[in-house]
Amino acid sequence: MPLWLDLLIRVAAVMAAFLVLPLVIGQAEHKVMAHMQGRVGPMYAGAFHGWAQLVADGVKFVQKEDVTPRDADRTVFRLAPMVALFPYLVVILTIPLGPGLVAQSLDIGLFLVLAVLGIGVIAVLMSAWASANKYSLLGGVRGAAQLLGYELPLVLAAASVAMAAGTLSLPGIVEAWQPWWLIWQAPAALVFFIAGLAEIRRPPFDMPIADSELVFGYMTEYTGLRFAFFLLAEYVGIVVIAALTTVLFLGGWHGPMEDQLGWLWTLLKIGALSFVIIWLRVTYPRMREDQLQRLCWLILVPVSLAQLVLTVAVKSLL
């Protein structure tokens, strides 16, 4: 295969995943939430169980007026949604679906993922400050404190599994994974998943956009397509956190007939974790700011440090 064709296929595949998976997750959220709350959710758009609801929403967002507040810092305000999307696009590039089935295999893929996920907080600060709105600023400061705090347990939990596998490459970690790691790395998996939820600001960690007190936090002033970009970032975030948890802790493509069906197992695991993320949104009330920080610093960080010790102990015993 010529180089350009190979490149074209890879880029097209990543873009397709980037655009299709969030739509699937978004639609699943509409329907799952509705059924959990005894409703039916969208039923009309696209005729069959409202499958085209999000497409219709997208058309609506495009038609809306693109409003920039008068006192806003225009350039920064307009740039922020792109900066919010960018890290997730890079992360999707490195996630392996099956054996050898990855857009860009990197020697230190895990490190790249953790590094670019940290950029997301800049988008929050940019949108918060540039909106010229007190609610936005409060939401942004809350968001920055939350993202900075939860990055620590996230990185420590990922470091534990990297130490266990002896590699920083994401496909390498999946290859080294064995079923008993489910128990050995269980605390790290929990910490990673919870910290990941906080990183994408999903309920119960949505204090930065708490609608009952901050209108919509740092997204208050956004309308139309730019707001849709933030929404898209949220849904891609769900995909990314579910995919990373799958790859790092649930064995990625491991399953029956993994040589042929590896990609299916990965997608199924991602789907199951995304369902849990949606489930948590319907189940738990929003955590207060002090509870949120307490959970991070007094529970998650010590647990992930203890997990590091456990990992080293078991690893050196073997």
Partner: protein
């Protein structure tokens, strides 16, 4: 000129240009954002030079944490949207000192290294950096760890008034300033 040369020049110009904007912009928060661009460009330089790990560390630590802390602090204190006219800025002496030091160092480096040809070192992969740090350089590494730990403890002591309070005040109660 190879592709690497062009990339190095472009990224270097980006880093220096946005670095200059950091100190000349009168928008406080925008300065911080320019710093993000500048440090990101330096990470790009590391990538071009083959030091992949260092590049991602640069992004993780500087862009993701240091600059964010800086922006966070600015937004907690005073972050007006639009220019702040009252920023003090000793423009000429600072430009002279900064530009002079930069140019002088550049000239010194060019003079020191342009006559000698070095073989390109191996790419700085994670494995190689790890072997070096925990092999040849393990003592300096541990010394730096102790330094960072003592800085951490110092920060905690400084930020908690109940530690090291005078004996006559009851323990656990912050001292009330007169």
């Amino acid at each position: 000129m190879t592709v690497a040369d062009v990339l190095l020049l472009a990224l270097g110009a980006l880093a220096v240009g946005s670095g200059a904007l950091v100190v000349t912009s009168s928008h406080l928060v925008r300065s911080g954002l320019y710093l993000v661009v500048s440090l990101g460009a330096i990470a790009g330089l590391y990538l071009v030079l083959g030091a992949e790990l260092v590049a991602w560390v640069q992004i993780l630590v500087y862009v993701g944490a240091v600059v964010v802390l800086l922006l966070f602090a600015v937004m907690l204190t005073r972050a007006p949207i639009g220019p702040s006219a009252d920023l003090d800025r000793p423009a000429l002496p600072a430009a002279l000192i900064g530009g002079g030091a930069g140019l002088g160092l550049a000239a010194l480096f060019a003079d020191a290294f342009r006559w000698v040809r070095y073989a390109a070192p191996e790419p700085g992969t994670a494995e190689r950096v790890g072997e070096q740090i925990f092999g040849a350089w393990v003592l300096p590494f541990e010394v730096i760890s102790i330094l960072l730990l003592s800085a951490l403890v110092g920060a905690i002591v400084l930020s908690r008034p109940d530690i090291g309070a005078r004996v006559d005040t009851p323990a656990g109660e912050p001292e009330v300033p007169a």
